[in-house]
Amino acid sequence: MSEWLESAISRGHQIDDWLAPKRTQAIDLLSTTSWPTRKTEAWRYTSLRAVQNSKAHEIETKTNLLPEHITNLSAIELVFVNGKLDKEQLPDVLPKGLSICLGSDLNKEQQLQALDNFSEIKPKRHLFGLVNDALAQDVVMVSVEDGVNIAEPLRISSLLSLGSESHTRVYVTLGEGSQLAVIEDVQAEGDSLNTAFVEYNVSAKAHLEHYRFALQTGSNVSVGGCHFNLLDHSTMHSTIVAFGSDLSRLDTDIIHSGQFVDAKLNAIYLLDGNELFDLHATVEHAVPNGTTEENVRCIVAGRAKAVFNGRIHIHRDAQKTLAELNNRNLLMSKTAEINTKPELEIYADDVRCAHGATSAQVDDKALYYLQTRGIDRAKANVMLNFGFINELIDLMPNAVLSEWIRPIIRQRFSEMEVRV
């Protein structure tokens, strides 16, 4: 076991609050888990050295950081500063049908109820998910009442100051037939370490629109997860946009618990320099008639490293499942690296399931077409490569967000280090 994990466990032991039963559970599991090495499948391509060497520690100080300004976005702001909820930044009045509260502010009875659900969606296999169970600072519970459509998106921003260690945790419940959009984003200063896990319980006929912007770069270490439990006839549309840092890892779990669920996940990553981003996306089709569509596209330049593991597990009873996984990658330099692994496990016989992973080349016909319109080859290549990413930006349901992120991505793309 590593020193870092030992320290995490001992700190977890010292916390005595309403979550204690769950913390103990997590610590028990952690105590019997060995620290991942390169032989550990889930961490095969991503070294945890940055965690082991991290000097980050929990700090109380306030930060000067502010959530990134998103032009024209009007959102309900939920701000975490170094893992602690900043209550002052919460709006005084929330829209009707939406509640946001700290787990520690609930009454005894509510806490017992919350304990029943807490950490039940996030699978136990995520090492840092267990660390987060043990060390989560403020646990924020968000809930939307049945049938309520929250017009403004809820934005969960994590602000991480220099050298800080933090463990952010949110639990979101969408009532039956309700609708909510959630934006998760991070602003990180150097040498910070953060685990951030969000669980989503999406009731029948509810619709969740979800974004996770992991745009932190540099010497930040982030390990997190988004875990979705989807009940009958619910729908979700998730977009992940990531740059890389010393270590940036995200685990998503899309769990079809109810029938006729429609889930979409689009992920874009653009990595440069020595950055790393690792996405492990798991889809569980436990019941029949579910639909999943996953599109993952990355552009990797410099000496950066991209990791994608896309697992689709279709259980024996999950007949009539439609699942599609498409992963396309563009290597911009010889020294960049992409490790991609689609994993389909299909135990039902009446399903349609397709996957593809390619290290994409620019489409010759498209290149020719642009050239016949006078655009030179180099420029046409750039347009097509950017188009490859832009296609998924176009699919973002919230136009304010796509208009905000597009130039940011374009800028990053134009600065990428190409080494042929």
Binding site: A366, Y369, T372, R373, G374, D376, R377, A380, F386, I389
Partner: protein, 265 residues
């Protein structure tokens, strides 16, 4: 007109793809302002001509020469040909999701302008011109924001090609079966667009299988292409003749006699 300098001169051209010879001794001379129709059965090499002239990768020229506006066309890059004023309207325009039509148009118009020593067009001016062009070809303005040809119907793609032509103002437009898959209304619209662009310094090659487009765009010359070369040339009345006779007569032996019939502009 016979003293006017030629815009395009193709001499004894042999070309093909992957060792397969498709163009076999092709000759054509086009002067500014002329409209030439090239007709012929499937497999005659009609589309290949467009690809060879535009410089598509994989299309190899074995022998012969092509002079465009005084320059050796065959030595130019694809984009140089475009910037010199050659425009190919595709039979099957490619869809490019993620690249917006407007972004594409701007890059394209700017490239042509740069080649002519002009400054890049301002976004607002381009938008103005693009809107006007959309209106002219009856393409909804929303299409400017969509990916290039993405999800466009066959007819919409053809109109998008035409819209580009209106913005780029080429010297020579090759329309490769632009009429295929169009209903009569769309056909008339395309013809109207083309006719509006006819001028003394702009020429057209209209490649088509059927005569009907030529009801609306009156060609100055009609050529029959068979097995990689022009086997018969004439004026607009030749198209009507073909319409009534079909192409089966091409198989008869006397075609050879007509092979050298060259129309002097």
């Amino acid at each position: 007109m016979s003293n006017t300098k030629s815009l395009l001169t193709i001499k004894d051209l042999y070309a093909g793809i992957e060792e397969k010879q498709i163009i076999k001794g092709f000759n054509l001379d086009i002067k500014p302002g002329e409209v030439h129709a090239i007709m012929g059965p499937n497999g005659a090499g009609k589309s290949t001509m467009g690809y060879v002239l535009s410089g598509r990768d994989g299309y190899e020229v074995e022998s012969g020469s092509v002079t465009f506006n005084g320059q050796n066309l065959l030595e130019m890059e694809i984009e140089e040909r475009a910037n010199a004023g050659l425009f190919l309207a595709f039979q099957y325009p490619v869809e490019i999701p993620g690249v917006s039509n407007l972004e594409f148009l701007k890059a394209s118009v700017d490239a042509v302008r740069a080649a002519n020593g002009e400054e890049a067009i301002s976004s607002s001016e381009l938008l103005k011109q693009a809107k006007a062009a959309c209106k002219q070809v009856d393409l909804p303005l929303a299409f400017l924001k969509r990916g290039v040809n993405e999800g466009f119907s066959g007819g919409e793609k053809k109109r998008n090609e035409l819209m580009q032509m209106l913005l780029l103002k080429p010297k020579l437009c090759i329309l490769d079966e632009t009429d295929s898959g169009l209903d009569i209304d769309a056909l008339q619209l395309v013809a109207k667009g083309v006719n509006s662009q006819r001028s003394e310094d702009r020429s057209f090659i209209i490649v088509t299988h059927y005569q009907r487009l030529l009801d609306y765009i009156k060609p100055d010359f009609v050529h029959v292409l068979a097995d990689g070369k022009i086997v018969k040339s004439g004026d607009a009345s030749l198209a009507l003749e073909l319409e009534s006779q079909g192409y089966s007569w091409l198989e008869s032996a006397d075609v050879e006699n007509n092979a050298e019939t060259k129309v002097e502009g």
